[in-house]
């Protein structure tokens, strides 16, 4: 197994671990944690302030 395959396997283990957490905890609990993660990503993106032209460039059209 090469390094990439090992990394993929480890990532999948984490995904499964988090999914089990979601499955075994009330919606209010996991969604509070998820909200912190996603909102912080969006707040970072807001700081970038890309123009519409830059977004089109990124998207390739």
């Amino acid at each position: 197994m090469n390094e990439r395959e090992i990394n993929s396997r480890e990532r999948m283990k984490y995904v499964e671990k988090w999914a089990e957490f979601v499955k075994n905890n009330p919606d209010e609990v996991w969604s509070k944690m998820q909200k912190e993660l996603i909102d912080s990503q969006i707040e970072n993106a807001e700081r970038v302030k890309l123009t519409k032209e830059q977004v089109r460039y990124i998207k390739g059209r």
């Binding site: 993929s8 990532r11 999948m12 995904v15 499964e16 988090w18 999914a19 089990e20 979601v22 499955k23 075994n24 905890n25 009330p26 919606d27 209010e28 996991w30 969604s31 509070k32 944690m33 998820q34 909200k35 993660l37 996603i38 909102d39 990503q41 969006i42 707040e43 993106a45 807001e46 970038v48 302030k49 890309l50 123009t51 519409k52 830059q54 977004v55 089109r56 998207k59 059209r61």
Partner: protein
Amino acid sequence: MVEFEVVNGELRTKKNLTQLDVFVIDTLTILSRFVDYVLISGYVSIFFGRARGTEDVDVFIDEISEEKFKEFYNAALEKGYEFNIDNAEELYKDYLQDNLSVNMWGKNLPLVRLEIKIAKKYSQKRVLNERVKVFYNGGFLYFSPIEYQIAYKKSILKSEKDLEDARHLEVVFKNLDKEKIEEYVGVVLKEFEDE
């Protein structure tokens, strides 16, 4: 124990809404006034708990007339959204009808986009017809059947991220229809081979 389960085409949940969820709800509240839609792809896994964000929220819509599309476009502009280009007619003819996605985003938040495509293929139309009504807190959204997401991500897309999204759904949902997943796999693989 809060496994998700679709019963008679519906599911109920109550969650802390992320800014991404709020964006999706707001944009789809506008879109749904003009055309039927179904949420597909990564956001499906994210709404149901996947620990990642996304820049693109993908939806299929039903066929829509140019007139209706222009009404939607103007309603979105009034609410502070913008699009790939500032011309509704070109967006309709050169993007939507040409099977390219129409992207919509808040003026101050260009990195989170709603990507709108017309459901053209058999499988896409079927997903729209078999959409699941998901009640959250005080509202509802329409999502693709979970079985379709798993089938498409595992048999067509197959990137690391897609396989992880599919695995997440397999863990958090109960009573998934394995025969339906296999059937969807057959349908999408055939469409892929025919392209």
